[in-house]
Amino acid sequence: MDVVVKSKLAGLILALSIIFFGLESSYSILLFLIVMLSIGIPHGSVDHIIAFINPKARKFDSKLIFYTTYLSLIIFNIIIWVLSPFLGLLVFLIISCYHFGETQVIGYNPTDNKILNFVIGANILLSLFLNNIVELQEILYIIPQFATLDLSAFDSVFFLLISVGILMLSIVNFDIKRKVPLYAEITILYMVFFHTDLLTSFALYFGFCHSLPMLMLEFKEFKTENFIKFYLKTLPFTILSIFFGFLLYQFNNDLLTSDNLILFVFIVISSLTLPHVFIMKDFVKDK
């Protein structure tokens, strides 16, 4: 069994445990933070090494150019969020759709179809948001176009149905190697999205279907003897990212002074995601 499947299975077992035994919503922020700090951020904390050891990666003349470009993209993204939250969200969604999709279809995409990557990622994010749409409305209150939508006429089954319908049509209309296993895999995710709240859903998906498989693939790429040694290499930039988060929180502007910590974390994640996506795009090419 390969590392990607093992990682996803670990997530599935955890998800089922949460569904069966129940998790109080007050603990979901804790689960989210644990997953983000232990798996989510570390999977992007070796980008500076991946960018140079991967022979298929885009070329950076020096580490200085790499870091400058990387940090510029992070700052650029924060500026977008501050100037226009709607545009910030849009950029994050487009980038995330592609990025989540390309890692989800590793082993399923025979023609390296970029549109398929985007569509599968969009399906997953759409389902995550649709199945927790009321919560999402509360979080994204700064986007009036969305916050004022009246969703009272629809019940949760409707949104699940829409997600599954779109997924089925996406699966049949693309050239996918082993369509059924991919469909089945995403169906389980949809069940988890439906039965858990937004933070738990995102933590389970992002942690175990995205970050952990990528972390394991990176470990393989590094050819380090044991996982602990590899994991230690992720720590400097993980700590730096957390520090960056705190710094951003301290020097917040009007947007960040809100009590909405989830939105703040959302912005931090989206800012870290933007440069990471470009590095991973090259990394997953031959996977």
Binding site: F20, F21, D155, V157, L169, I171, V180, T187, M191
Partner: protein, 238 residues
């Protein structure tokens, strides 16, 4: 949220609650069985066995939820049932595509139409068309699916591409296919009955008690889902 250890106990004489319990544990047992068999069957049937396990696994989760709702006295768990069906029905139809290698597109389309229009009819969310019209559209999609998988061929009638591929399949696929066709034709017929019992229309004379309806659904679901997997396993064991 569910906590299955603390889930309510079934009162003596609550036969409906008992069928929820039987439904949940039998689905769970079937999931374990299919997963164990996954390692025993030929490589080309592994995906089929995994899907069979997923179908019963997803159903087991929802039956635990449904049992809790029922035993807590919160009424018929219609919403949970729909969630279960939305997730498992497409997986059941892909079993046909896995066994034959054809027809996934048509079967997916048919199941999308069947589920969406069925939901529109039962919930009344659209505000256009009445329940019986939505039900008729949903029924047509079901008959299209039944035709495609060759249910009519049981009586010597015509068959779609999937049904033809089942008939000409190797090993025990034709026998397993015939079992699956019976499940679609007879087993799935309980769902329109439930729809008619729960909505207004020319069929309003069909009045079934809530508890009795749930018993029919629970037994039907267990037979359909576990039976579907067993039929696939039968083909795989050859």
């Amino acid at each position: 949220m569910l906590n299955f250890i603390l889930a309510g106990t079934i009162e003596p004489g609550d036969f409906t609650g008992f069928t929820f319990f039987i439904g949940s544990v039998s689905m769970l047992a079937a999931t374990v069985w299919f997963l164990m068999q996954h390692g025993q069957v030929d490589k080309k049937f592994k995906d089929s066995m995994l899907v069979a396990a997923l179908i019963t696994g997803i159903a087991a989760v929802h039956y635990f939820y449904m049992r809790e709702q029922w035993t807590a006295g919160l009424g018929s768990p219609t919403e949970l049932r729909y969630i279960d069906w939305i997730l498992t029905v497409p997986l059941m139809v892909v079993e046909f595509a896995l066994l034959t290698g054809v027809g996934m597109r048509k079967l997916f389309w048919a199941s999308v139409i069947m589920l969406v229009t069925g939901y529109f009819g039962e919930s009344g969310v659209t505000g256009v068309l009445d329940a019986q019209t939505w039900g008729a559209i949903s029924g047509l999609a079901y008959f299209w699916m039944a035709y495609e998988v060759g249910c009519l061929s049981i009586f010597g009638g015509p068959s779609g591409a999937v049904g033809n591929a089942l008939t000409s399949g190797s090993g025990k696929i034709p026998e397993a296919g015939r079992m699956l066709q019976w499940f679609v034709l007879v087993g799935w017929a309980i769902y329109p009955i439930g729809y008619m019992a729960g909505t207004e229309g020319w069929y309003s004379f069909v009045a079934i008690d809530e508890g009795a309806m749930n018993i029919i659904y629970n037994i039907g679901d267990a037979i359909n889902k576990i039976g579907f997997g067993m039929a696939v396993w039968y083909a795989a064991k050859s």
